[in-house]
């Protein structure tokens, strides 16, 4: 299919602000009378606040006020609290002080006398499960099926688990399909491994600073979130105000990766504070605080058993995962991991058992491929081990199991929209010269050994049911109202091009409105889960179709004939039987204002969200309005799929490795924005390299203190940790359930890279499985030297 805009590069309008410094992130705003807040955060991993003596602090010159847990939205455990009298991790905000400048606020914080009663705590899920083990919260230690529970294992359960044997403890949450026993009976090779994937911080470059002030009864919030419209209902609820009384601005967001999807506690603190003291409040979050409140990936400790037929088909998978959830409600990672296994390898039978345990560590949240990417690091090396035992090539065993459009997913074995994984593997193997390159496997040059690896990634990558809003004004401009947040993928802009495509208009005639609820933006999905490209090309498409239909009706009414005989080209609507009979877009817009009603937005469909209703009401009468909820059919889960290919050199003397070559291949439907896709594939790969061998957090088990509160300690990949150039390709095969054929891709791009690098390291070392992320140099050296590791197979907080 040939498109005017889809599949073409373009310059997203916000990029100029990014290269000139004019882009305003939340902390770049300043308003008259603004005061500065600082947080007092918990020095203990779990405690009860017995008394707060703020008298000395409040008596200090320049101090304006204090905000405590009693002043804010109450949270029910384990939901996150804005401020708390029972802190559940080191760094949990207890109160805030505002002052005329930050230094005064900081001095006032230091002058507060805080009386804390220490409570039992845990920084390791297995310690909490031991008989008589500590619970992370007074309400219990496990959060499952939306309930807090107290779960305890027997000593025997614990011993089996920590030594890597098949777990014996019942799991609070479980799903399965097929006949597991028969699946293992049919297997030629059955592998059993235990594993650890360590949690680590999101550490977006922009700490989540927030500015709030009240004006004309409305609360204005300048924040940093991945999403825009999606934040509004949740933030309004946190602030205890009507949605219509919230103005939310997040025109730029300095990275989120799952940690800033919607509203989060810190986002609401300045709103409350500003109301209490009657002054605008800026709350700057420091890098150290961002490590506390900024969220982290769920850690896994688990056990897996997988059966493979003689031909290499995956016949059965039994997966047991203990999740480290941190202290607050989250925890879909294990189930998502199970879902990924079910689609990527399609076992005939499968069981997932999930033990979601709370710990007194930094709160967890979705992090790029939550669950799917941890399990990619576990299952893909296991697949290679099976291939090795069966004498099958690593690419070949993946081809044998590759999902196609008839593949099913999850416990209910539901359908998917489309998948072309085999094509991606074939294309990648060809571009990577796999069959030649694999000959280098294990070749040693001095202290360096070459390893070759291939890995696969999956994430569900599409949603439905959100609204689109487009508007034509009498100056001939096409206004694309995007409620999509600006998280750095440019999808807020790229998805509007589906509307421009329908309207066949020049991109220069288009204006995008985004990043500020005051700009009348429609209801949008969460900018997470790689869904935006699929979801909002649809929403923009249906809104533009609505606008197009109205244009044709207006033209038929003005020029005669039936709407069906009209078409559009060159920003005119014309009679296909007599092209001379036409109206310009500008003329159509002017007529729409005269006609009123549904044409100018005075009347709108009943099924659109109230956020969209408010937006349409605000722009009513300014032009021709196209607005619709996406009710297009979707046959099932929308899969985002990628394959990564890596060549590494592992240095046997230092334990370090270098990624010599990397290639990513995407099966994400039609390519909408090639450079944007390239950025996601390469950026996802960088994240994958970090997970494979660099990033982790570590807690001191004696005091519950985090050891990683700086970049130098958490080690996000730098220029020098990644190849200086990475190749990419995309299949560009359209998905049938998207009007332009697109699916999402941002998250699997990481999982496939993690897996490819881990498989390549394993390949260099003769197929040894570490069953652990990250594979750090010390772990490699211990293996190479035959010393054994300094910790047990399921241990965490190791270093």
């Amino acid at each position: 299919m040939s498109y005017l805009h889809i599949g073409k590069n373009f310059t997203p309008p916000d990029i100029y602000g990014k290269v000139t410094g004019k882009a305003k992130y939340a902390e770049d705003y300043a308003v008259d009378g603004m005061v500065y807040a600082r947080l007092l955060t918990s020095p203990m991993p779990h405690a009860r606040v017995k008394n707060i003596d703020a008298s000395a602090a409040l008596a200090m010159k320049g101090v304006v006020g204090i905000l405590t847990a009693d002043d804010v939205y109450p949270a029910e455990a384990p939901s996150p609290a804005l401020l708390t009298n029972e802190p559940v991790y080191v760094g949990d905000p207890i109160l805030a002080i505002a002052a005329v400048d930050e230094k005064t606020a900081e001095n006032a914080i230091a002058a507060i006398k805080l009386d804390l009663e220490p409570l039992p705590f845990t920084v390791d899920p297995v310690d909490s499960l031991r008989p008589g083990g500590p619970s992370a919260r007074t309400e219990g230690n496990v959060f499952s099926s939306r309930e807090m529970k107290a779960v305890s294992w027997t000593q025997g359960d614990v011993e089996r688990f920590v030594t890597g044997q098949e777990p014996s403890a019942p799991a609070p949450y479980e799903w399965s399909y097929g006949d597991l026993e028969a699946g293992f009976d049919n297997a030629e090779v059955v592998l059993e491994e235990s594993f650890v994937t360590t949690g680590y911080a999101h550490m977006s470059m922009e700490p989540r600073s927030v500015l709030s002030f009240w004006q004309n009864g409305k609360c204005h919030v300048h924040g940093s979130t991945q999403s825009q419209s999606f934040v509004v209902p949740f933030l309004a609820k946190m602030l205890g105000i009507e949605q219509a009384d919230l103005v939310y601005v997040s025109e730029y967001c300095g990275g989120g990766f799952g940690s800033k999807i919607g509203s989060y506690p810190v986002l609401a603190i300045p709103g409350y504070f500003s109301k209490k003291i009657g002054r605008p409040v800026m709350l700057r979050i420091t890098r150290e605080e961002e490590y506390y409140v900024g969220s982290a990936r769920v850690g896994f400790q688990g056990w897996i058993k997988a059966g493979f037929t003689k031909q290499g088909k995956v016949s059965a998978v039994d997966l047991y995962i203990v999740q480290d959830l941190g202290p607050k409600a989250t925890g879909g990672d294990a189930s998502s991991a199970g879902g990924a296994v079910s689609i990527l390898y399609q076992p005939d039978a499968m069981r997932l058992r999930d033990v979601p345990v709370l710990t007194n560590t930094t709160p967890r949240g979705a992090q790029r491929g939550p669950g799917q990417n941890q399990i990619a690091a576990v299952f893909e090396p296991l697949l290679d081990k099976a291939a090795r035992e069966l004498g099958i090539d690593p690419v070949e065993i993946r081809r044998l199991n590759a999902p196609d459009s008839n593949t099913t997913i999850n416990a209910d074995q539901g359908p998917i929209t489309s998948a072309f994984m085999e094509e991606a593997l074939v294309k990648g193997a060809e571009l990577f010269n796999w069959s030649e390159r694999i000959q280098k496997s294990g070749r040693q040059n001095g202290s360096k050994v070459t390893g070759i690896g291939v890995g696969q990634g999956y994430h569900s990558a599409g949603a439905k049911g959100y609204d689109g809003l487009v508007r034509l004004t009498p100056d001939g401009r096409v206004h694309l109202h995007s409620g999509v947040g600006n998280l750095g993928t440019y999808s807020y802009a790229a998805t509007t091009r589906a509307a421009a495509e329908v309207l066949k208009c020049s991109w220069n005639s288009c204006v995008i409105h985004h990043g500020n609820s005051g700009l009348h933006l429609p209801w949008s999905s969460y900018q997470a889960g790689s869904n935006t490209t699929f979801t909002h090309t649809r929403a923009n498409y249906v809104a533009a179709e609505d606008l197009l239909a109205k244009m044709k009706r207006i033209a038929a009414g003005a020029l005669g004939g039936e709407p069906e005989q009209y078409d559009v080209a060159d920003e005119r609507v014309f009679d296909t039987r007599n092209a001379a009979r036409s109206l310009t877009y500008a003329e159509v817009a002017a007529r729409a204002i005269e006609l009123g009603g549904e044409y100018s937005g005075e009347v709108y469909p009943e099924d659109i969200h109230e956020v969209t209703q408010r937006a349409v009401s605000a722009i009513a009468g300014t032009g021709l309005v196209g607005v619709a909820k996406d009710t297009l059919p979707v046959r099932g889960t929308v899969p985002g799929l990628t394959v990564g290919f890596a060549e590494v050199e592992v240095d046997l003397e230092t334990g370090k490795h270098e990624i010599v070559e990397f290639l990513a291949v995407a099966d994400c439907g039609t390519v909408v924005h090639p450079l944007g896709l390239a950025g996601q594939l390469r950026g996802g790969a960088v994240w994958g390299f970090g997970m494979a061998s660099l990033e982790r957090h570590v807690y001191d088990p004696h005091n519950g203190l985090p050891a990683n509160v700086g970049y130098y300690q958490t080690k996000p990949p730098s220029y020098l940790d990644v190849p200086s150039s990475m190749e990419w390709a995309a299949l560009d095969i359209p998905d049938p359930d998207n009007p332009v054929g697109a699916r999402g891709v941002g998250e699997p791009a990481m999982g496939s890279a993690t897996a490819a690098v881990m498989c390549a390291i394993s390949d260099a070392l003769g197929g040894h499985l570490f069953n652990r992320t990250p594979i750090t140099p010390d772990v490699v050296l211990n293996h190479v030297s035959g010393n054994g590791q300094s910790f047990g197979p399921l241990a965490i907080n190791t270093f």
Partner: protein, 156 residues
């Protein structure tokens, strides 16, 4: 201080960092604070044509020296500096928060070495973290800018 070619008289505290002065006293918020402790490079500016972390320099130490921030790169007509234009053309930024720092390090590199290899560019920008992982695109942009500037005779 001389900032972006203009004399900017400003009162500063002895312990005040250049990043603080630029952002909060001169309103030059293009200089970002990612860590405020010399780890990430988001606050990179030029001082006498050399790239520095503005969070780790005291303002009084740049008295009388030439400070250039990302806001000072466009020419008088508003035309983007070739490095900025190359960053646009390569869709180099993702979230954009580290971008001003990346650009300042790239400008400093091209002043010193108009014809860097990709490896030299990688080493020169290694003090600038990017959590989005846009490194590849940033290096593409540096190469593109070097080529543009050589053709335009802006580099020799």
């Amino acid at each position: 201080m001389n900032v972006n070619g203009r004399k900017r008289p400003v009162d500063v505290l002895p312990q005040e960092t250049l990043a603080h002065t630029l952002r909060y006293k001169l309103g030059l918020t293009g200089t970002k604070l990612g860590c405020n402790r010399g780890e990430c490079g988001a606050c990179t500016v030029l001082v006498d044509e050399i790239n520095h972390y503005a969070c780790s320099m005291l303002t009084h130490s740049v008295r009388g020296r030439a400070v250039v921030t990302v806001e000072g790169l466009q020419d008088a007509s508003g035309t983007l500096h070739p490095v900025q234009q190359a960053f646009v053309d390569e869709l180099a930024p993702q979230c954009g928060f580290c971008t001003p720092g990346q650009i300042m390090s790239a400008v400093a590199l091209l002043k010193e070495n108009p014809n860097p290899t990709r490896e030299e560019a990688r080493q020169a920008l290694a003090g600038n973290l990017c959590r989005c992982g846009a490194y590849d695109h940033y290096l593409n942009a540096v190469e593109r800018a070097a080529s543009t500037m050589r053709k335009a005779g802006q580099l020799t």
